[in-house]
Symmetry: C2
Subunit: 341 residues, 2 copies
């Protein structure tokens, strides 16, 4: 049975949301989950779920916990943290994937160091899945793991993102683009201009530069960018969504007919919220680490945790890492993305 190690002490609602998510996954997905954290706390939470003893669940004790405030140094010294113990379970082959809603920087650093990197990958990258107007999901790589990137790293992100799109998001022939500020090859900054010929030479459906609005247009399936700009794009999106929500509420409450309209369209708003809810997609995978590592939002609820466990299982079953390794080996033999720089 496929086994996922869950850092049960990571998120803002840990360990309640984590335990509930693990129970849902074990109950609904046929995946075994090893809950890692303070044993007494986890058992206490598990007891709230009647059928827990019959489910494929296991508890692995870990005495420490990484907080959102911990520095990289602090993370390193906490040898018995739930995060590190969970990551070691993957390294040692006791689990096929890691899921955590903890401190993103700490999860990335730990997975990279403990689990190691897929051969051929210079640096692991965080993938973010976005909803689009056409209904198809779009994946952006990198959304925050590497702030300063080389052109070769962007080419590797393209290879990893394309495989993720094809085998996890089930896009048949993913279109890959570089996030830039104009469609033409010469439009962009030093990085995007240098990355263009590399992506062009890869065995990909490369469609050239795309722009910010294309994240949501559905006209591209994989967008590559450095982690700084990817993270800004993600945060800007949150800001705009909040802005629109606020404006709508304010506008609708200003008149009586608007208030009535608002009440009558509540179901629609609820549906809208669900569609915009990133937790539906089950967290952001850190592409390029051995085993699997899915990073959830700190405020993940049980459903988000469950979905992340599902993605981790699909990632493992889809042999995503093996495919990444093979593709990069192929590209390296053609001298495209061979050397780290």
């Amino acid at each position: 049975m496929l086994t996922i190690a869950l850092d049960a002490m990571g998120g803002d609602h840990a360990p309640r949301a984590e335990v509930e998510g693990a129970v849902l996954a074990a109950r609904q997905l046929g995946v075994k989950v090893i809950l890692v954290g303070r044993k007494e706390l986890l058992i206490e939470e598990l007891r709230k779920h009647e059928d827990y003893a019959d489910l494929p669940l296991e508890v692995q004790h870990a005495s420490e916990r990484v907080t959102m405030e911990d520095s990289t140094q602090a993370v390193r010294t906490k040898a018995d943290s739930s995060l590190k113990v969970a990551s070691r379970l993957v390294r040692d082959g006791r689990a096929q994937g890691l899921v955590s809603a903890g401190n993103t920087g700490a999860v990335m650093a730990t997975a990279k160091i403990v689990q190691g990197v897929v051969p051929g990958v210079t640096r692991p990258a965080l993938a973010g899945v976005f909803p689009t107007i056409k209904g198809s999901p779009m994946v952006a790589v990198d959304v925050g793991a590497n702030v300063d990137c080389s052109p070769r790293m962007l080419a590797q992100f393209a290879v990893m993102g394309e495989i993720y799109s094809r085998f996890i998001l089930r896009r048949p022939h993913p279109r890959v683009g570089i996030l830039s500020i104009g469609a033409e090859e010469h439009k962009g900054n030093e990085l995007t201009r240098a990355a263009w010929p590399l992506l062009k030479s890869l065995n990909l459906n490369f469609i050239g530069n795309v722009e910010g609005q294309d994240i949501y247009s559905g006209d591209v399936d994989v967008i590559v960018c450095d982690g700084f700009i990817g993270n800004v794009a993600l945060k800007v999106s949150e800001g705009v969504a909040d802005m629109v929500k606020w404006l709508l509420k304010e506008s609708l409450e200003a008149t009586l007919s608007g208030r009535i309209g608002y009440l009558m369209s509540r179901t629609a708003f609820h549906e809208l919220k669900k569609r915009l809810d990133y937790s539906e997609y089950g967290g952001a995978p850190l592409l390029g680490v051995r085993g699997v590592c899915i990073i959830c939002h700190g405020r993940s609820n049980a459903k988000a945790i469950r979905n992340a466990i599902r993605v981790a299982a699909e990632f493992s079953e889809g042999k995503v890492n093996q495919r990444i390794e093979d593709e990069l080996k192929q590209a390296a033999s053609e001298k495209i993305v061979a050397k780290a720089d």
Copy 2:
């Protein structure tokens, strides 16, 4: 009387929208407008407005026109383009500012070369004004003029943006931040980390790093970033707004009560659209060029043109350039943003 030179052949709806905008400005704002473009076309459009002969309007003939497709080279060779002739009117002191809804790259290059740069400014930068949840406008510099920036350029953007916020957007004590991916000083890329101490040492209300969502939060009044990331942030915003609009429409049309709710809240939606309408703010100023240069969206309507003329006039009356020159001289004497690099 304050005079603005309008490139009347620039936008997608030129010269109709331009002429109508100029008539509105001349009628309502007490500003003189010199319309630059093919004389016969402009006269024909002007004749549609009964009172045009009584308004402070003038037509300056220019035989050529820069298109959206023209390369930088093509722009250079069109010596008698409406854009270049309008820019020369500012250089020669016949007008105090330039307004154009033409090819953004061409307008920036022309204004920089023909009008020249304010002493102390390394490179002019495009300012974008965003609405916020708190109702106050926020200005981001640069949103597209310079893709690769130095830390000193970001410091100059801060000085220029702060003055724009104070004297045009009427923010009493503008808070200035660097667009980054975390609040702490060490979070960010090479550029933001190097810019931090420079901004810190300036005579500004510097609040440190801000994140993508802060563009709309109303917690910061001036955000500096390189033109690549600023442009992506702008385009992402457009993408999200379209996405939300589409989702809402789809959700609301799915049920009968939703459809009724939608109809009843139409006024509210109309109001919302107006609030999100960037044309209300009257185009993006290119900060740091001599005279004034306001760049409008290609699809600007008459109202947007009128508002851009208003902003150009306020910019000139507010002595924004003189203030920028003085502040940069002051900073240079303190050896902060002295040297170009």
